[in-house]
């Protein structure tokens, strides 16, 4: 299974801002090792964020997303202490889910 994410969520004026930092190599499949062998593509393909069980953002990623992907978005609502859950799946079928409580 994948390595943990860092999720920060904070609510202000009725809008929750979510910042996510994922740990993933995001190999394009185009990079070569020093000896010339091609490093196979290995990257996150899907990301989903939920607030109290309701989906608030959905993303599909390609090979061009940077290593250790960073994501920031905002949704209406959310209260201090409520949970934001983020999961990702990569092209090898590996997944990771983490959650964070909304802060003030």
């Amino acid at each position: 299974m994948g390595n943990p994410m860092k999720i920060r969520a904070a609510v202000k004026d009725g809008v929750t801002e979510v910042k996510v930092l994922m740990q993933h190599d995001m190999e394009t499949g185009l990079r070569k090792e020093a000896d010339g062998t091609l490093v196979p593509a290995w990257f996150i393909t899907e990301v989903k964020a939920q607030h109290q069980g309701r989906t608030v953002l959905e993303a599909q990623y390609g090979q061009s997303i940077s290593k250790n992907p960073y994501l920031l978005f905002r949704f209406k609502g959310g209260a201090v202490g409520e949970k934001v859950t983020v999961s990702w799946t990569d092209n090898k079928g590996d997944t990771r889910t983490d959650e964070a409580a909304i802060a003030a």
């Binding site: 860092k6 910042k19 930092l21 740990q23 190599d25 940077s66 290593k67 250790n68 960073y70 920031l72």
Partner: protein
């Protein structure tokens, strides 16, 4: 007035005085754009993950002695991590040496955990996209000095000596390019390519540079330790390789750390 301010003032004068200063003007605005780029990537530092990895390693029993590093004395007493980095390098009575963080971690890993030194120094840096244990441990320890003011002592004669030797290493020209550290780091407001260079003779420059290392390098996708920073400087200086945690690296670190005294430590940083 220090030389940095003076150069800046003269540049400003030159800009107003002559149209031929256009090049300098463009250079300055390009630097601003780079600054803007750095600002945009400053949130969400993947070095956090290396700190987490280091904390786990610190607390986990390992090595032939199956011991954790929780009794490791980084200068503030066994197991005290908070603020330790802001006072390193320092003289340690048990080893009778001035040690920087990585040299001290090496001592703890060999004595407390019984891990052979060669095993650690064979691959001391993150490489092939993988972190090294000692480098992650360093990330964890430095993170525990966030917000603490640098206060590196030169009171002990050995500490004073390390500082003086460090200064000489800083100015030591050698190799096919005749470079010393000072070739790039003793003048204000200059850059290599797009990279602004800190002038270690100017307090604010030295402070900003020293307190933001170790750092996550986005170009390499790795968190880099201070020993790595020096190692790669010497590579670019066209020098041979300094031995990991050797006296030459510790003395140079001492010189640079003292020049940063008084500034809040803010690392691990995030760099291009």
């Amino acid at each position: 007035m220090n030389t940095s301010n003076l150069t800046r003032m003269i540049l400003v004068l030159a800009l107003t005085a002559s149209g031929s200063a256009l090049a300098a003007d463009t250079a300055a605005s390009d630097s601003d754009k780079i600054e803007q780029y750095r600002e945009m990537i400053s949130d969400g530092n993947p070095a956090d993950f290396d700190e987490m990895r280091g904390e786990e390693l610190w607390k986990k029993a390992a090595g032939p002695k199956q011991a954790s590093l929780e009794k490791c004395d980084l200068g503030k007493g066994p197991g005290v991590v908070k603020g330790a980095y802001a006072a390193l390098p320092r003289y340690f009575k048990d080893t009778k040496m001035v040690q920087d963080l990585e040299s001290r971690l090496l001592t703890c890993m060999t004595t407390l955990q019984g891990i052979p030194e060669e095993e650690i120094t064979a691959k001391p840096f993150a490489s092939d996209k993988k972190a090294s244990d000692i480098s992650s441990l360093a990330s964890y320890v430095v993170g525990q000095s966030k917000g603490i003011k640098m206060a590196v002592s030169t009171r002990h004669p050995k500490e004073k000596e390390a500082f003086e030797i460090g200064r000489r290493i800083f100015n030591y020209r050698a190799g096919p390019y005749d470079f010393a550290c000072s070739t790039c780091h003793a003048t204000s407001d200059v850059r290599i390519r797009m990279q602004d260079l800190p002038n270690f003779h100017v307090k604010e420059d030295a402070q900003a540079a020293y307190t933001s290392w170790p750092a996550y390098r986005v170009s390499q996708g790795l968190t880099r330790s201070f020993q790595w920073r020096l190692n790669d400087c010497f590579r670019q200086q066209r020098f041979p390789e300094p031995k990991f945690a050797s006296e030459v690296t510790v003395a140079l670190t001492m010189y640079l750390a003292v020049s940063a005294n008084g500034a809040e430590y803010v690392g691990p940083g995030l760099k291009r």
